[in-house]
């Protein structure tokens, strides 16, 4: 690189500062774990650190470079930061220890990793600003034909919904759950597969744009949001009504709340699988419908007949 194209200080100073903070946290959690406050990492992960602070940094940097009219609204920036913060919090703070030692707390962790966190991140409309600010080689990689070709089948609405529910079922299948909770590698794979799948799913469902450039129409996206409710209710209900302890891992390694019996822990955990995801889906449905209305208002005529039917239906709820 020629001296004339030397990077401006912010380009290297901020990442260097983030790396330094990461190194300090890494050192502290390795050597002084007993002295860490609850809000600092319990088990520091460079992947979690980089995966949280770099997108945040790129997002706000990207926004600063965008034309003011095209920037995501301030509330969107706030929910993006909140979503990233929540994902980092359940993966890294002392909450991680709690989630390792109580079934219902591990379920709340997964609601954050798979539903709430990615949902809030998706509302931040982060794609454009992040791509604008990320290093060029990385941008070329995410925009490459190979990556797009690999993601395309996963974003087909039916496949996306199946993957979304399938991952919930896979990690709750008792033998897999045991192996993924007791082991470190599988635990890591489990949590990050939930985050990535959550992002893939909610970024598509909550995309405000109409079908082209978005991959699926509003109707298909509304159906995705609603379709995943029922299998999750079935899984949650199966756990809630189970009369025997499906997840003995927590008995082996000990529960954080010894006063809560294993079956009660399991019952509450089943409720967490059952109820909050269904509520999130309903919120997502309302958002998709409002996007549809907005797109319709912007366009001279309905975009397609199915969308028109959805719009007529949505008028009952939205009153528009």
């Amino acid at each position: 690189m020629s001296p004339a194209r030397r990077l401006p200080p912010a380009e290297w100073a901020v990442p260097a500062a983030l790396a330094a903070v990461g190194a300090a946290l890494d050192w502290a959690t390795t050597t002084r774990p007993a002295a860490m406050p609850v809000w600092l990492p319990f088990d520091f992960s460079w992947f979690a650190w980089a995966g949280t602070v770099l997108p945040l940094w790129w997002y706000f940097r990207g926004i600063a470079r965008m034309a003011p009219a095209r920037r995501p609204a301030p509330w969107r920036r706030a929910v993006f930061a909140l979503g990233m913060g929540l994902i980092w919090a359940v993966l890294q703070t002392r909450y991680l220890y709690l989630a390792e030692h109580e079934f219902f707390l591990s379920r709340i962790m997964h609601v954050v990793l798979h539903h709430l966190g990615p949902f809030l991140v998706a509302l931040g409309l982060a794609g454009q600003p992040i791509r604008a600010a990320m290093p060029a080689p990385l941008r070329r990689l995410v925009e490459s034909r190979q990556v797009r070709a690999a993601l395309a089948p996963l974003m087909q609405p039916f496949v996306a919904a199946f993957l979304f529910v399938g991952l919930v079922a896979l990690w709750l299948w008792p033998p897999v759950h045991f192996a993924s909770m007791i082991g470190h590698r599988l635990f890591w794979v489990m949590n990050w597969s939930m985050v990535l799948d959550g992002l893939l799913f909610w970024c598509q469902v909550l995309d405000p744009r109409p079908a082209p450039p978005a991959r699926a129409g509003y109707g298909a996206r509304a159906a995705m949001a609603v379709g995943v409710i029922f299998p999750q209710i079935a899984i949650g209900a199966f756990i809630v009504f189970s009369r025997h302890d499906l997840y003995p891992y927590y008995n082996y390694c000990g529960r954080f709340f010894p006063d809560i019996s294993p079956l009660y822990d399991q019952l509450v955990g089943g409720m967490v699988v059952w109820i909050p995801p269904a509520m999130m889906s309903i919120v997502a449905l309302l958002i998709v419908l409002s996007h549809l209305r907005a797109a319709e208002d912007a366009a001279p005529r309905p975009l397609d007949p199915r969308a028109a039917r959805m719009a007529a239906l949505s008028a009952r709820w939205t009153g528009r």
């Binding site: 050597t31 774990p33 002295a35 220890y97 082991g183 599988l186 079935a234 199966f238 082996y252």
Partner: protein, 208 residues
């Protein structure tokens, strides 16, 4: 939900039937033996490397525990007696979660009561936090006061590591009056014979 149950049961059976162990195999999932703590016998710091070449049982507890910790250690000592001479290849690490009250002399006298193969380990707060984090073990010490008693809670599990230090088995609890002592003895004997083969099917069954 009904039709799912037989399927689930069949899968559970498949995974357990494929395992030759009486206890729970954690091979390849749980990290290898790794810790540092003060050895109650010598007063010096020991690490996992000092136990290479032996089968290691790891248990968290505290000496001011009148019932369940001595019961667990007693059950382990019964297993060691059943092993006979082969017990010389086994070390039982009793790690105190209450280092404040369990000083080195207390711990040394305590583990000596159970036999020569029992090793008392007193970690400092950071060593204990690292060990518990590594093996997903839980513990809590509440010094009490204001009318509340000093209470200690800890995981009941016993981990078993093989001669190379690899984690092999989890014994859910030996704190019972009817523990599966023949099963635990058979498992330790198997490890002592160095039979590392789990069987392809057992491996597959755990990962499908």
């Amino acid at each position: 939900m009904k039709p799912l149950r037989p399927l689930l049961l069949a899968l559970a059976l498949l995974t357990t039937a494929a395992s030759p162990w009486h206890d729970i195999s954690v091979r390849g999932e749980v990290p290898a033996l790794g810790f540092a703590a003060t050895d109650a016998a010598s007063g010096h710091t020991v690490t996992a490397a000092d136990f290479r070449g032996r089968i290691v049982l790891l248990y968290l507890g505290y000496t001011h525990c009148p019932d369940v910790c001595p019961l667990t250690l007693h059950n382990i000592s019964v297993v060691l007696r059943r092993l006979g001479k082969a017990a010389a290849g086994v070390r039982v690490l009793f790690v105190t979660v209450d280092p404040h009250r369990d000083t080195v002399p207390v711990l040394r006298r305590y583990v000596a009561l159970f036999g020569p193969d029992f090793v008392g380990l007193r970690p400092d707060a950071n060593q204990l936090a690292r060990l518990a984090r590594r093996y997903r073990l839980a513990y809590a010490v509440d010094p009490g006061g204001h009318g509340h008693p000093y209470t200690v809670t800890h995981s009941a599990a016993v981990y078993v590591f093989d001669r190379t230090g690899a984690a092999r088995l989890l014994i859910p609890s030996l704190a019972s009056t009817t523990p599966d002592l023949p099963g635990v003895t058979a498992d330790l004997r198997r490890l002592l014979r160095g039979q590392t083969a789990e069987g392809w099917f057992g491996w597959l069954a755990r990962w499908v």
